[in-house]
Symmetry: C2
Subunit: 400 residues, 2 copies
């Protein structure tokens, strides 16, 4: 069967703030084959710019729009997805936005193929590796939330999350790095105080110290006293040399990074040259499940930890989980808690934590996700793009 | 003074082919200050996707459109440009297209500031380094053209370019890598035959051997018999490990790469970990003159060669030259020969080679370029973008 339609949906909350909350808008990609089956993907990216990457006119041999590249192509086996993935990266090699855009299509292709085969995506990925006995392993979900404006409010939020049953919590961004060493430590201390001694606590510094590996090291030492599992993105994502210097000081907790990786090499660079301990990959940015899976394999080879980065809907969450569902040593799963009304209502899955607090990949075909079309209709932001008098895109042209 | 207007112009030839010819369309950025002065920049990028990066609605704290980020900001000194550059990279950190888009604005800001100061950009860059005695040095332009379909036609083209007075020529892409070792060598042999023994001959393989460093090495050995100055992009730009393996074999000519770099780290990775001998930076992709200048400094520190990549109009060419006009050891200048009618008519400069065949950066303020408005009008492809019923962009809203 061939790819018959690629539909794009720009969804957004009525008001968008400058908070570090990536759930305020989204771009969904729906791919349908000739038999009427459909797959869905979600990009963690600017919806308008990503949509433009699908519909843009050709510029030359290395810039074609993704819709033009993919429409009509054959889709029958996992190898077809690898071929289409490579085709996009070749024919849109000079389109900078290509990885963010391809992420949505790649995820949708895996979903579609899984449905066609009656297999979950994580098992199809095992097939890629000729590993047909692949089993999934439960993951410990960590709630991913923002630091509150004060240490006190952060303690209260931590206590709520603990009461909700989370056994691992990550706090990030907010005022971290804005008010000096003592305030930063207070934020982390009060987070720990609200959680009590049991739950795992992770800290996301949100690039607070830019290229300053010394300050990052001092904070790592301070935070370690609060039993913090990892310190995430203390430095700019491109500051690979600064990561290497930080690691050379042997900080007393793991250093995590990688959420911004938008190509395989970027992740390999952080791992091989930055020396990070935990690589956090967003399948909605790096080029989809295909590229994320390649980074997971690299993490296994190098003996470091792979974990997803997800701060979108459960559609993104289940896509992220497929990548490493069968990897027993990679036990943590970033699990968005909170987020916008749009994001919470967008997709239904079976990924609720069980009585033991763990999340399991299911046997449902594809991604095992149902997109709520009423939510798509409710938050749809209609887009119309004309170039040279020609209509390149209009929302609703194919219906929801 | 403050930034008062940012105007965007999508220009294109009536027909766009899939040839590796990046001059078939373009995006121009014009920035005006309150005093009425204006600066121009050109992006080597998909015009529609890049335009979208300027006008896209905010998604969250790390995705803002570039127009929103820059409008109203102060512009009085080179330090202001560095500040604005960092501001864009921070407030659009999760916008993958940001570097391609920022390139146009950054180049336009340097042009504008140079005009306000009555200084050429290359001298303002020296000021950044507290080097007020900076002098420009002439460059040897190399004509950059595509291989013809056959070795014979390539020889003829080479003879024409030699007759036109070029002392250095680069052939690239076309059938290179498509028909086996003997054909590849014939292409290069006939190029040398058409040029005669004097002119420098450079070869651009156009990523022909992907990640296969062994074939790249074999071709390097073969081509060296034709007195080839460098072998460019034998491998995929992300194949840093394969570049390192190729270099470990000690090929008998220089290995060049880097034109696709769309962030500083990408270039640093190729230099530090790929071991390339020549780094080729396109100021219209990597984030503008500011980022290109930083890579030039890194090349100087590491003792390798910096050269521009330019396959656009003379507006891009003069921007590229500013970056290393004062660097005497970096003697070559990629000089687009040919290109579309649009590209050839777009910008007027004083960058014609002199009687000695060399090109000199001038003392003209800013970039020393005059954009041909009649060409802009002739090739303007009108764009209209609406999101959520709101008009985000319409060509001509500010006039040409």
């Amino acid at each position: 069967v061939n790819i018959a339609a690629i539909d794009l949906f720009y969804l957004a909350m009525p008001e968008i703030s400058s908070a570090a909350d990536g759930t305020q808008d989204t771009l969904l990609v729906r791919i349908r084959d000739e038999s009427g089956l459909e797959g869905w993907g979600e990009c963690d990216a600017s919806p308008l710019v990503t949509l433009a990457a699908y519909v843009c006119p050709r510029s030359h041999g290395n810039i074609h729009g993704l819709r033009e590249i993919l429409l009509g192509e054959r889709l029958e086996t996992p190898a077809d997805i690898l071929r289409l993935h490579a085709r996009v990266l070749r024919l849109a090699a000079d389109l900078e936005q290509v990885h963010h855009a391809l992420s949505g299509a790649d995820i949708a292709l895996w979903d579609l193929l899984g449905k066609a085969r009656g297999e979950p995506v994580w098992r199809l990925l095992g097939e890629l590796e000729c590993d047909r006995g692949v089993k999934s392993h439960p993951k410990l979900p960590y709630a991913s939330v923002l630091f509150e404006a004060t240490p006190e409010a952060t303690r209260q939020r931590a206590a709520e999350l603990r009461a909700a049953g989370f056994r691992a919590i990550k706090f990030g961004w907010g005022p971290m790095g804005c008010h000096g060493a003592e305030f930063d430590l207070e934020l982390v201390r009060e987070a720990r105080s609200g959680l009590g001694p049991e739950p795992r606590l992770l800290v996301d510094a949100g690039m607070a110290w830019k290229e300053d590996h010394r300050t990052a090291f001092e904070r790592a030492v301070a935070f370690a006293s609060c039993d913090v599992g990892w310190l995430e993105e203390p430095l700019f994502p491109d500051a690979v040399a600064a990561y290497a210097r930080l690691k050379a000081f042997s900080p007393p907790l793991a250093i995590a990074a990688g959420e911004g990786c938008n190509r395989y090499r970027f992740a390999a660079d952080l791992i091989e040259n930055g020396g990070i301990d935990v690589v956090q990959i967003d399948a909605g940015r790096i080029g989809g499940i295909t590229t994320a899976f390649a980074v997971r394999r690299l993490a296994e080879e190098r003996g470091i930890t792979y974990v997803n980065h997800t701060f979108k809907s459960q559609l993104s969450l289940t896509a992220a989980l497929q990548v490493f569902a069968d990897a027993e040593p990679f036990h943590l799963l970033e699990y968005p808690a909170g987020g916008s009304a749009l994001s919470r209502a967008l997709a239904r899955t079976d990924l609720e934590p069980g009585p033991d607090g763990l999340v399991r990949a299911t046997e449902a075909p594809g991604l095992g996700v149902e997109v709520a079309l009423e939510t798509v209709r409710q938050y749809l932001r209609p887009v119309r793009v004309e170039v040279g008098g020609k209509l390149l895109f209009e929302s609703g042209e194919t219906g929801v």
